[in-house]
Symmetry: C2
Subunit: 307 residues, 2 copies
């Protein structure tokens, strides 16, 4: 059994799904034929749209991994966001674009991280670096991930490398990335048939901040008020999770991808962290956060400082 | 002050010193003119030999760094092996070939690690990747580091990438690396004018293993018995450090670089870790470890498993 499993974080977003598929493709060229793309949760509508568009099957679902399993982590490194049993796995490689935290190995490994907008931008570089040809379908998957993570190159996390990668990948995939990207993002904002429980778990990250258990979930929309209609149900679902998972803070970010603003619903005994971080007073458990669209750049570090 | 400090680990070996010099050179090409190569301790005789040979000055000594200082870590990532104050620094990049442990950041960063024999092998790849010309002197420094870390490509940590890098770098530096390498390694085995205290600090690493404070020091020699003559003084010095630094285990490895074996002097309340790891019984606080030359590959992981 020299199977090598590749997976992104729990509550997978488009980057986590595409990165696992793309990395599995890359590994085949690097000589690892037994690499299997996996996912740790349900795929969302945005990802579904992209996979359907490029006619690619969803990665295999796994819940936990057994001791000694060889794995590659993409789009995450924190064990709290990874597969159950990750502590006992053999981590061969990590390709990621997040801070490094709650991560350790007993042996040296391949670790490639860059402060860019998307893991797939780094994977694109790895293809170039290793002189491996990128197939149009693979280019389409990478393109989708970068558009998703950077909100069509508009998020403050966007770097020159992301822009360059999108331009090159669009040529290979032979696609107008602006038209395709907007359609894909819009597909992801269709939240109509999710329950409140599903909504707060679509893209949720559990983070340890100075000993505080913090969960930060995010959804994209074209109309914040459409989501806020369900505030009562959402709060009920959040309070249930806070109790079940013993959380100190739950922040649910509703991001308007057209106007680049967010509204947050904030619950838990450490709501003061959000109030201090953004110098706001919660009203009816809510705060409007003008210009905030990036959890990684505009939420995680400022909360961390106030933990 | 947008100064950017580059440094390797405490008790610097040749790789830590050369990597800081080389990385500072590389950064200049990448647009960071204010990068300063630094070191966290005295340089050893092997490194001195190499720097003299290539007529390069020793990096600047620093002891601690102040809050918010921008830094690049080379050849290490564990905060316990880094500059005092590292927790409050802004870590921009890491280039390393060790396991990842006791390391975390609040923001995304550039992190490049590979399971190869030497940090300079990865730096060599970064020059190639970025299409930056390597000057003969810089090639000589990288060559020296790889020869040092792999004991002239004989250590089990040696990979194909290290061998390739050495061959390419030897061409650029216009040097017979076998002849030069042996002279450099021999210069490092001249331990005659060190005190016992100096000897156990020449290349010492402090590692946290399951809550145990473990320090592992290593010296290279061409005759183990020459070092063992001073066992009494060495043990006195080790016991002093154990008390001062509240260590649970101190392992002093004397490596015969000609025959590729080691003898270890082991003290502290967790000497059982070494006995279990190598299935040996210490005699007179010593154990002979046939075939063991690599702390990273043949000592750290096996001790960790028995911590």
């Amino acid at each position: 059994m020299s199977e090598l499993l590749v997976f992104g974080h729990k509550s997978p977003d488009t980057d986590s799904i595409m990165s696992s598929l793309v990395m599995a493709d890359l590994e085949k060229f690097l000589g690892n034929d037994t690499t299997i793309a996996c996912r740790l949760g349900e795929i969302n509508k945005e990802t579904t749209y992209a996979l359907n568009y490029f006619k690619v099957e969803v990665p295999q679902f796994i819940e936990s991994i057994s001791e000694g399993t060889k794995v590659i982590l993409v789009d995450h490194n924190e064990f709290t966001q990874s597969a159950n049993g990750i502590e006992k796995a053999k981590i061969m490689k990590v390709v990621d674009h997040h801070r490094i935290c709650n991560f350790q190995t007993t042996e040296p490994l391949f670790y490639m991280a860059e402060p860019v907008g998307c893991t797939c931008t780094i994977l694109y570089e790895l293809y170039v670096m290793n002189n491996i040809e990128i197939k149009p379908t693979i280019a389409g998957l990478m393109l989708s991930a970068i558009i998703s993570d950077t909100l069509l190159l508009k998020s403050p996390t966007t770097t020159i490398k992301d822009i360059k990668a999108v331009e090159e990948l669009a040529k290979i995939a032979n696609i107008d990335y602006r038209v395709y990207g907007l359609e894909m993002l819009k597909a992801g904002t269709d939240l109509s048939d999710y329950t409140a429980e599903e909504l707060i778990n679509l893209d949720a990250k559990l983070v340890d901040m100075n000993g505080n258990n913090v969960k930060i979930a995010q959804v994209n929309t074209v109309a914040i008020e459409d989501v806020l209609k369900y505030q009562t149900d959402i709060e009920k679902a959040i309070n249930k999770i806070i109790e079940e998972e013993n959380l100190d803070l739950f922040m649910f970010i509703i991001t308007d991808i057209v106007n680049s603003n967010s509204e947050a619903i904030v619950l838990g005994k450490r709501t003061d962290m959000v109030e201090k971080a953004y110098n706001v007073k919660l009203e009816n458990n809510k705060a409007f956060l003008p210009g905030v669209v990036s959890r990684k750049k505009q939420v995680l570090p400022v909360l961390q400082e106030n933990a």
